[in-house]
């Protein structure tokens, strides 16, 4: 997680945060009232094609950009509230987990940051990370809104997970289209922009990645379908697992 904090020393990364946030927010606002799923809480989020693509290209800038972009979406959409706090955290994870787990989710990941988009293994990992990061985002936000008594956990966790996974999967097409330009022409992929000593190495990356996998899937499936009567307890425990895993990566 070191890079998520050291990136604030780097001017290009700061600009990338702003650019990611602005694109995500602009798309969120454009579709905010198009198809509401839970009015004032969530809608069909076409904008969700962006966070995973941002994450794999811009790394930690995408994590902060997605979080700030979602907050700006709430501000301009008129839905700023206490729920926006964990909307920030959940969307941070949506932008943080894909790049952090791309190298640490072994043995599925091969440990390389370079996106080998011609390789089927990379796409298996992409699909898996789309689901895991979306479920993690859903668990964290749904837990908080259940605590606040705003929306029942079992309803919201499934909506967010399915909604975000769908967006991230379509985002794969965007990634295919823009990767070459960003990598070779603009040279703006995060491991080119940041200094190696600022990126660092995760303390227990593989353990962290698997904690996130367990937390996200258990939080979604147990909380929504198997133990929905104890949804809040499931939500709290799995949120702790997800956040602990995220810190370890």
């Amino acid at each position: 997680m070191k890079a998520a904090f050291t990136m604030w020393k780097n001017t290009r990364m700061i600009i990338l945060v702003a650019v990611c946030a602005a694109i995500y927010a602009a798309a969120l606002i454009a579709f905010k009232t198009a198809i509401p799923l839970i009015p004032g809480i969530t809608e069909v989020r076409v904008a969700n094609i962006f966070p995973m693509v941002f994450s794999l290209l811009f790394g930690p800038a995408a994590a902060w950009g997605s979080a700030i972009g979602n907050l700006i979406g709430d501000i301009f959409g008129g839905t700023l509230g206490l729920g926006s706090i964990f909307g920030f955290v959940g969307n941070f994870l949506l932008g943080y987990l894909p790049y952090a787990m791309w190298t640490t989710l072994k043995p599925i990941a091969d440990g390389e940051r370079e996106l080998a988009l011609g390789n089927w293994r990379a796409w298996v990992l992409y699909i898996l990370l789309a689901l895991i990061s979306s479920a993690a985002c859903g668990v964290v936000i749904a837990m908080w809104l259940e605590v606040l008594g705003l929306v029942p956990y079992p309803v919201l966790v499934t909506i967010i997970t399915v909604n975000d996974t769908f967006g991230s999967l379509i985002g794969g097409l965007l990634l295919l289209a823009v990767y070459g330009v960003v990598r070779r022409q603009l040279r703006l992929v995060w491991w080119d922009v940041m200094e190696p000593e600022d990126i660092g190495k995760p303390a227990a990356g593989v353990l962290g990645a698997w904690l996130v996998v367990i937390g996200a899937l258990a939080g979604w499936i147990l909380g929504a379908y198997i133990l929905s009567g104890q949804a809040l307890i499931v939500g709290v425990i799995t949120t702790v697992l997800i956040l602990l895993g995220a810190v370890l990566m």
Binding site: A18, T79, L150, L173
Partner: protein, 262 residues
């Protein structure tokens, strides 16, 4: 289309220090969080409408009327099936609706609407610059605040670019209106690629422009905009704190709750 919610009026609320407004809106969120009885929540919601009238923010309430109404309706329909109460009114298999869960549901709808209403009052009376400056004065690290304010400024630019791209693609025959939700989401890709490239190309130019002016994320700064906390700010903060503590006291004494949960 104007996507900003700020309304340029001269009210006492507009003149408050941005820090007062940020802390004040958090305290209002706290007050709305304390009770789960519909009568108490209705009182809070009414208070917020009066506050909005004083802050001349009602035009934004009208603009958001559908969201506010839908919040209450949706919550009232959804919550009775998830909150349990002793006085059962209706049951069918595992589904059960009680008098308490119904009242709780109405209260939650009003709570959600109150959150949105408090946020709307804040956004109607605070410019983006004041908001960012308030966050910095509340010790948000400068690089984060800078990214936030830059993003706020870029949103209308990218939204405008997005609209131009949509028109250009429609003129080339892209049909964005037809198809189901999956097909329509797929059609977003031909729009997203040029928007993405347009935006990312900005990054290098913006970074060079900043660095050429000696931008240093960690440097110490002075400010042109320098709002000060006045007597009215302290008075508002004291009143809102008293309101929050009073509400908390009432709840701890057993008032304002239909169910023993938040």
């Amino acid at each position: 289309m104007n996507i900003f919610l700020y309304l340029d009026e001269d009210t006492w609320f507009h003149r408050l220090d941005p820090r007062t407004k940020i802390i004040g809106v958090v305290l209002l969120f706290g007050v709305a969080l304390v009770f789960n009885h519909p009568l108490y929540m209705a009182g809070i919601a009414l208070g917020l409408v009066l506050l909005a009238a004083a802050a001349k923010a009602l035009p934004n309430f009208w603009r958001m009327r559908y969201i506010l109404i839908l919040l209450v309706v949706f919550s009232t329909v959804l919550w009775p099936f998830f909150a349990e109460g002793p006085t059962v009114l209706w049951s069918w298999g595992p589904l059960e609706v009680s008098r308490e869960s119904l009242m709780y549901a109405i209260a939650m709808g009003l709570r959600l609407a109150s959150f949105v209403a408090a946020g709307l009052i804040f956004l109607s009376t605070t410019t983006n610059e004041e908001f960012t400056h308030g966050l910095i004065r509340l010790k948000l690290p400068y690089p984060v605040a800078f990214a936030f304010s830059t993003a706020l400024r870029l949103v209308p630019t990218f939204a405008g670019a997005g609209a131009t791209i949509v028109q250009a693609q429609i003129s080339r025959g892209l049909d964005v209106e037809s198809g189901n939700i999956f097909q329509r989401a797929g059609k977003f890709i031909p729009l997203a690629v040029p928007l993405f490239i347009y935006a990312v190309r900005h990054t290098n130019m913006l970074a060079m422009a900043l660095e050429s002016k000696g931008f240093n994320p960690g440097a110490k700064r002075t400010w042109y905009l320098n709002p000060q906390m006045r007597r009215a700010d302290y008075l508002v903060l004291a009143l809102l704190t008293a309101l929050f503590l009073g509400a908390l006291f009432l709840r701890l004494r057993g008032y304002g709750a239909v169910l023993p949960r938040l």
